[in-house]
Symmetry: C2
Amino acid sequence: MLSLTEENYLKAIYHLSDGGNRSVLTNELAEAMNTKAASVTDMVKKLSAKAVISHEKYYGVNVTSKGKSEALMVIRKHRLWETFLVQKLGFAWDEVHEVAEQLEHINSARLIEKLDEFLGYPKVDPHGDPIPDNKGKLKILPQIAIDQLNIGYQGKIAAVKDSDSNLLKYLDKIEARPGTKIKILGKEDYDGSMEILIADHRIFISKEVSQNILVIE
Amino acid sequence: MLSLTEENYLKAIYHLSDGGNRSVLTNELAEAMNTKAASVTDMVKKLSAKAVISHEKYYGVNVTSKGKSEALMVIRKHRLWETFLVQKLGFAWDEVHEVAEQLEHINSARLIEKLDEFLGYPKVDPHGDPIPDNKGKLKILPQIAIDQLNIGYQGKIAAVKDSDSNLLKYLDKIEARPGTKIKILGKEDYDGSMEILIADHRIFISKEVSQNILVIE
DNA sequence: GTAAAAATTTAGATTAGTCTAAAAAAATAT
DNA sequence: ATATTTTTTTAGACTAATCTAAATTTTTAC
């Protein structure tokens, strides 16, 4: 049983480690958690004692397989709640994160199963991120940012990165949402900006924006 | 801003004081909160400092008007979530309390307004308890338990007391739900048991059960 | 109206999560 | 390869919420 704080640390470790593919350093985690390195060291000891991460002193932490599945359960809850907030309550895209951060810690297996059913067993959340199933399995979709694509590419937006609420507002405004048709019309070598066709209207976007729009690879 | 624990204490004080109509003693509160009197005394100091209750040493606590409206907001959230769990997710009556106890502490005014709208602005929760409005106003319904009624009374169940999950299971089984028609057929002087007609079928209930079924007075 | 019982508060300690400052280890730079 | 810088850990302290045991106040009982 993890406390709310422990769950948040574990989730951050999971994300920073890219789903368990690399180890996470104390300072990285301190920055992500908006706290101090000393606090991280303390918490790392607690999480190690609970066997959800392993810690090699001075060299960072890794999530264990137990930790991975616990993290995925929290992520499952987060993404299901985000889907609920957008699809059922009519929240905008960029408004859901903070609330979902709270809701993800509600403890009731039955609630999550019922919610999943109520939402029609969605596979992805409103940003296009995959929702882990009730066994803690995550289907990783092979995605690529559109700044990597060539002129002439046509397809559908699969997901957008949801790191920043202002970015999300902008993406919503230009209708860059999962499922929307997209075509690469032009690319400027100098600054990497692009001209694209989204939902049948032409628009110029900066390289930074293009790095946050993903399609299936 | 109250902590989760402070919210729970305040809610308990509100309920024990009958919505602020009498003062609450330390031991009462300790029993309700499943804690020790000494812990209550400590918490009472914190809540007094936050001006949601007033405390006269050795004579108990009273909710202030600020405390009353804060308690009602928590109750509003609790009852809206219970309504959601039953009406939208298909939870049974007796399963909702524990989950709603967690959900009531989610902090987002927008969420509650959206949820209220999504549910169609319900006036009462699944047990028939009134839902405070977004101004923190509670419409108190004049209710009376059916053990107080005379033979021949006919009406509709307005609410049931939701103190005990086993009672709720039983009430659900006999279809004693808010809105159901009810008629008093007979009353045994010896033990106070009753024969009643609920949703057109006759049933005998004990005095204890009859004290938990309420109609509009 | 005082003595015993019950209720409440205070005192001092504990745990979770956090902090600052100091110590220790690792990385780096010449 | 040694000194400096950076990163991490340890040590010691703080707050919130809790506890036990002791002290205090109120109530009750004769």
